[in-house]
């Protein structure tokens, strides 16, 4: 009788300990999850448009995202530099008028469309304008 009572208490204590340990571990995933959803990003000036010649590009960041502004056919456009293959940051090659990914060899045309290599989706365009003072503003 005492033996079974003792066994019962042992089991009870063990179960309580295990349950408490699990309960203590439960907040960890919530803690590790990044706090906000997609970062709120305000339109940001990234330098004068006059400094950007035809066919030239300028690397910028947009709320931490590597981005590039390029002047093509007189118009300033912006793209995310995150390669749609495996997320490396692509470079604008002004001589070849292509976006090149140095990691796995993806190539994109000035419109952001993939033309060679392992990428299949186009680069993500970012809204971009030139404001009244001649400043390039991305995200606005």
């Amino acid at each position: 009788m005492t033996e079974t009572r003792r066994e019962f208490l042992d089991t009870l204590l063990f179960t309580s300990l295990a349950a408490t340990a699990l309960a203590l571990a439960a907040p960890i995933p919530f803690y590790l999850r990044p706090p906000h959803g997609r970062m709120r990003r305000n339109p940001a000036p990234v330098g004068p448009a006059s400094g950007l010649g035809e066919g030239q590009g300028r690397n910028v960041t947009f709320g931490g995202e590597p981005a590039v502004v390029v002047r093509i056919d007189g118009k300033v456009v912006a793209f995310s530099r995150i390669c749609t293959h495996r997320n490396c940051a692509v470079n604008w090659d002004s001589a070849r008028a292509r976006f090149l990914c140095p990691c796995h060899g993806a190539v994109f045309d000035p419109g952001g469309k993939p033309v060679k290599g392992p990428a299949t989706r186009p680069l993500e365009p970012i809204p971009c304008r030139v404001d009244e003072r001649g400043e390039i503003v991305i995200g606005g």
Partner: protein, 323 residues
């Protein structure tokens, strides 16, 4: 003298404890030597890593500068970092040898399954340590590696968890540092204790293992050779730090990961994108289950598959290095 020793022995047991190390080694001397070298290399990573963490700063605007500071300004910083970086290379190489050695000798087979499983998990955790460690200087390799890993992780819904947000920010650096310097070393400590305890238990259960030269000679000689190699490498070929890359920087052409990630790097160029996120977990699971494939009379088939896969990875790695 003998009287004093027996006084000490009676109170601590330390004399007979030390004498044990002069007994003949049991098992194959080369295996014992390789195991002790692995342990030494892990200890080296712990000590030099702890010292590097004194000066390292895990922030986007400062990580690279702090590594440069360790290299060029901190007295002997270049040496301690050299030991850490070369130690990592040698550790992965020694671990691969240890894995192949175990497979060839067949110690993973029954009843060695759990030792093998803990060993493969250690291998995975150490590769994770190597990856997070390379991200810390935030040079071009580290930055691109982070981006690629986040792309793969996001296939499993864990991309933001890895980076601590959508892009590489200070949150990312904090995560990488915590994982590299605290969480993974803790995991290694737990796994390694289990691995060694189980391996020792298994070995002592074997009735007739051949004995060889004194244990101390085997292990001492191996450690001395390894330390000499490590120090020579750290002094003769000081590992530099790659060019700094912040998110607005140009990604240099030919950016590549460390040699042991090259097979995967090369594979990413041509395997279908849906397959990529599956490759690491499936590879790990296959390796974990080797003791269960390799049973009874199937040894030859498993041998061919194991070395077929091994040399395929080597070939991919070489192709990646030359591309």
């Amino acid at each position: 003298m003998a009287e004093r020793l027996s006084w000490l022995e009676e109170r601590t047991g330390v004399v007979s404890w030390v004498r044990r190390f002069f007994r003949p080694v049991t098992g194959r001397p080369w295996s014992v030597a390789l195991g002790s070298v692995l342990l030494l290399l892990i200890a080296n990573q712990v000590v030099t890593g702890a010292l590097l963490s004194v000066y390292y700063r895990p922030v986007v605007d400062g990580a690279h500068a702090s590594v440069r500071e360790i290299l060029h300004r901190v007295p002997m910083g270049w040496f301690l970092r050299g030991l850490h970086v070369w130690g990592a290379h040698l550790l992965v190489a020694a671990m691969l040898l240890h894995l192949v050695r175990t497979f060839v000798q067949g110690t993973h087979r029954r009843p060695g399954e759990i030792v093998w499983v803990t060993g493969v998990l250690l291998f995975a955790v150490l590769l994770g340590s190597a990856f997070t460690g390379q991200a810390l200087p935030l040079d071009a390799e580290g930055y691109s590696g982070l981006l690629v890993a986040s792309g793969l992780a996001s296939e499993w819904g864990a991309g933001r968890l890895l980076l601590g947000g959508d892009y590489v920010t200070d949150a990312t650096m904090g995560r990488m540092f915590a994982v590299h310097a605290i969480l993974l070393p803790l995991a290694i400590l737990v796994l390694l204790s289990g691995h060694i305890a189980l391996a020792a238990r298994r070995q002592s259960a074997e009735p007739e293992l051949p004995t060889g030269p004194p244990w101390f000679w085997v292990v001492g000689g191996a450690l001395l050779t390894m330390l000499a190699a490590l120090v020579t490498l750290a002094v003769v070929s000081i590992p530099g730090v790659g060019v700094s890359q912040d998110p607005a920087g140009v990604t240099p052409t030919g950016v590549k990961p460390a040699w042991y990630f090259l097979p995967f790097y090369q594979a990413l160029k041509f395997i279908p994108p849906w397959l990529e996120p599956w490759a690491p977990p499936v590879g790990l699971l296959t390796l974990l289950l080797v003791p269960w494939w390799d049973r009874g009379t199937k040894r030859r088939a498993v041998f061919v598959l194991f070395f077929g896969a091994f040399f395929a990875l080597v070939a991919l790695g070489i192709a990646g290095a030359m591309s």
